[in-house]
Amino acid sequence: MSKITQIEGKAVPVEGNDIDTDRIIPARYLKEITFTNMGKYPFYDERFDAEGRPKGHPFDLPQFAGAHILFVNQNFGCGSSREHAPQALMRFGIRAIVGESFAEIFAGNCTMLGIPTATVSHAEMEKLQALVKAKPETKFTLDLEKKTLLSEGKEHLRFDIHESKRNALVNGTWDSTGILLANAGKTAEVAQKLPYVNGF
């Protein structure tokens, strides 16, 4: 599996605290039994009116087209555990998310898809969002080894990321099935010792 150490690209800001996964992807799109089409739907109800015309959401503004890094505020991805939310963002083109804080299940789901969730302070995020609005062409580099965010190749700020998530990404172990499976023997031993597994 690939090691993820650097993510480069333009950024797109989506402002607001407590943006829940129902807003990231409305439940009606969860009726599809594959993730294939999810890239069409992120923030659907905030992006389009009843006739399907764009309402001017950042995801549809030409200056942010092709952005790989998403700038968000507090508690992003709260609510439903639906992996459809990071799937939708990823399939839309998002490779990394920088925010003030993330809901736990969402951040875990992102890591499993190879998407880093990096955190910065409120003041720093306000500056980043202002910068990208003023200069949308700015090229950012998220360096997971150094935990720095560079703009136009120059160090801009340091970010935090949950250490186990960072390790999984930089070591290429974010798709965890293989690692867990390698411990099948130990798993059986643990199961053996649990009274309820063996009917007491």
Binding site: D22, P26, I33, N183, T187, G199
Partner: protein, 480 residues
């Protein structure tokens, strides 16, 4: 660092390994699946050429997309029918027990686990659904997970998880009449915030929890996730054991004679369950204390579950919030079309929804029926009751609750999630505003992107239904 808590004991008993990432590989004792978050996971297992490692430890049901008016197949909604077909195929191919419509045990995944005795103290539980925290009411560590993690549990019966901190949340004293477990959980979220629990498991305790029934404990643990805590639990006690004894999958229950319990086996299980409870000398990363007497019937007014007030309070001024909350507060007032400083009581409602994994159990329906009995749903309100499971439905009908509701003008439906998230035909239309016993008031949650939700207890929903507006249920209780 917490020490000697149920969290520590259950976690330690299930650690398979410390992973190179710093996460822990945790054995999952019970895996529950439903139709929405599992099909992609089964596809991934098949694509990798893997098997389901412990098929006897996964149980399946259908709840999110099922229509509640008629469950005849094929469903009118072709996407829902396709999704139903996928789970039927997957449980057959992978040998997983399935509680479908014919089983008599179908229902919301977090309601059927406990009611069949699958959920037992000391277990680790996972389900591709954030409200898996519900099962913590039994003294389990129960985690909501995403679909790729569902794949991991299917393929390995394990998850890679980060260790959590433990916050003890005490509610002592007594609740006032008319105040319910739903009000307690909304109160805790109001006080600690929707992000307050990030990184924590909540251990709920104190005299209010000691006195709660299992169904009340489930209502509180259900909404731990709305406070940001991935898991919430109550230590197991006699109330827990009494609830479980004789249930279909509980220790010592024999499938042939469910009434007869193998006492020796049962006692062994109880002894084990007692051993996993937090010790008197347990240490917590944080402790918070609340008084039961301070809690009023609570209703939400905004778009996150912590935007709530006592039903007799005025809506908060925007200036009362911290600078970083203001944007969400302004968005909430705009979306809800409510005004700071005005009362919430008297706000007209269009729809009344009683159900969900928070409040779709028998005791919830009983409380709502007490209010509905002998009254009529207001002409302006569309009201319906959706039992959380086929078993709840059958038990309610045996008591005649269905008649109480239908005579009052509520529709009586089949079991499922229904308008909690509106993936089935039950939806708000346009700007409709609902009084709802569910758990999320997010924008768009109930099926219309402009629709609005006011969360409250099931008895309060019944009161709102008959009065046509947000009402303090205690006023109706006095007149009865």
């Amino acid at each position: 660092m917490s020490k000697g808590t149920l969290y520590n004991k259950v976690w330690d008993a299930h650690v398979v390994d410390k992973l190179p990432t710093g996460q822990y590989q945790i054995f999952i004792g019970l895996h529950l699946i439903h139709e929405v978050t599992s099909p992609q996971a089964f596809d991934m297992v098949a694509e990798k050429g893997l098997k389901v490692a412990y098929p006897g430890r996964t149980f399946a049901t259908v709840d999110h997309i099922v229509p509640t008016k008629s469950q005849a197949r094929p469903f009118a909604d072709t996407e829902a029918e396709q999704m139903m077909g996928a789970i039927e195929r997957n449980v057959r191919n992978f040998g997983i027990p399935f509680f479908d419509f014919n089983s008599g045990n179908q229902g919301i995944v977090h309601i059927i686990g406990p009611e069949m005795g699958l959920t037992q103290p000391g277990m680790t539980i996972a389900c591709g659904d954030s409200h898996t925290s519900t099962h913590g009411a039994f003294g389990t560590l129960a985690f909501g997970i995403g679909t790729t993690q569902v794949r991991d549990v299917l393929a390995t019966q394990c998850l890679g998880l980060d260790a959590l901190k433990v916050r003890r949340v005490n509610v002592n004293g007594e609740l006032k009449p008319g105040v319910t477990a739903k009000d307690v959980t909304l109160y805790i979220i109001q006080k600690l915030g929707v992000k307050g629990g990030i990184g924590y498991a909540y251990e709920y305790g104190g005299s209010v929890f000691d006195n709660f029934t299992m169904e009340e404990r489930m209502t509180v643990c259900n909404m731990a996730i709305e406070g940001g805590a991935r898991a919430g639990y109550v230590n197991p006690d006699q109330t827990t054991f009494d609830y479980l004894k004789g249930r279909k999958y509980a220790p010592g229950t024999s499938p042939e004679a469910m009434a007869k319990v193998d006492e020796a086996k049962w006692q062994k299980a109880v002894a084990y369950w007692k051993s996993v409870a937090s010790g008197h000398d347990a240490q917590y990363d944080d402790v918070v204390n609340f008084n039961g007497e301070d809690i009023e019937p609570i209703v939400t007014w905004g778009i996150t579950p912590d935007q709530s007030v006592g039903v007799n309070d005025k809506l908060p001024e925007v200036g009362k919030f911290s600078a970083d909350e203001v944007k969400t507060v302004e968005l909430a007032y705009k979306h809800m079309d409510l005004k700071p400083g005005s009362p919430i009581k008297g706000t007209p409602i269009d729809v009344a929804f009683i159900g969900s994994c928070t409040n779709g159990r028998l005791s919830d329906l009983r409380e709502a029926a007490k209010v509905a009995k002998g009254r009529k749903v207001a002409k302006t309100v569309r009201a319906f009751v959706v039992p959380g499971s086929q078993q709840v439905k059958a038990a309610a009908e045996k008591e005649g609750l269905d008649k109480v509701f239908t005579e009052a003008g509520f529709e009586w439906r089949g079991a499922g999630c229904s308008m909690c998230l509106a993936m089935n035909p039950d939806k708000l239309k346009g700007r409709e505003i609902s009084a709802s016993s569910s758990n999320r008031n997010f924008i768009g949650r109930q099926g219309s992107k402009d629709g609005r939700t006011i969360l409250m207890s099931p008895a309060m929903v019944a009161a709102a239904a008959v009065e046509g507006c947000v009402t303090d249920v205690r006023e109706l209780m006095q007149h009865h």
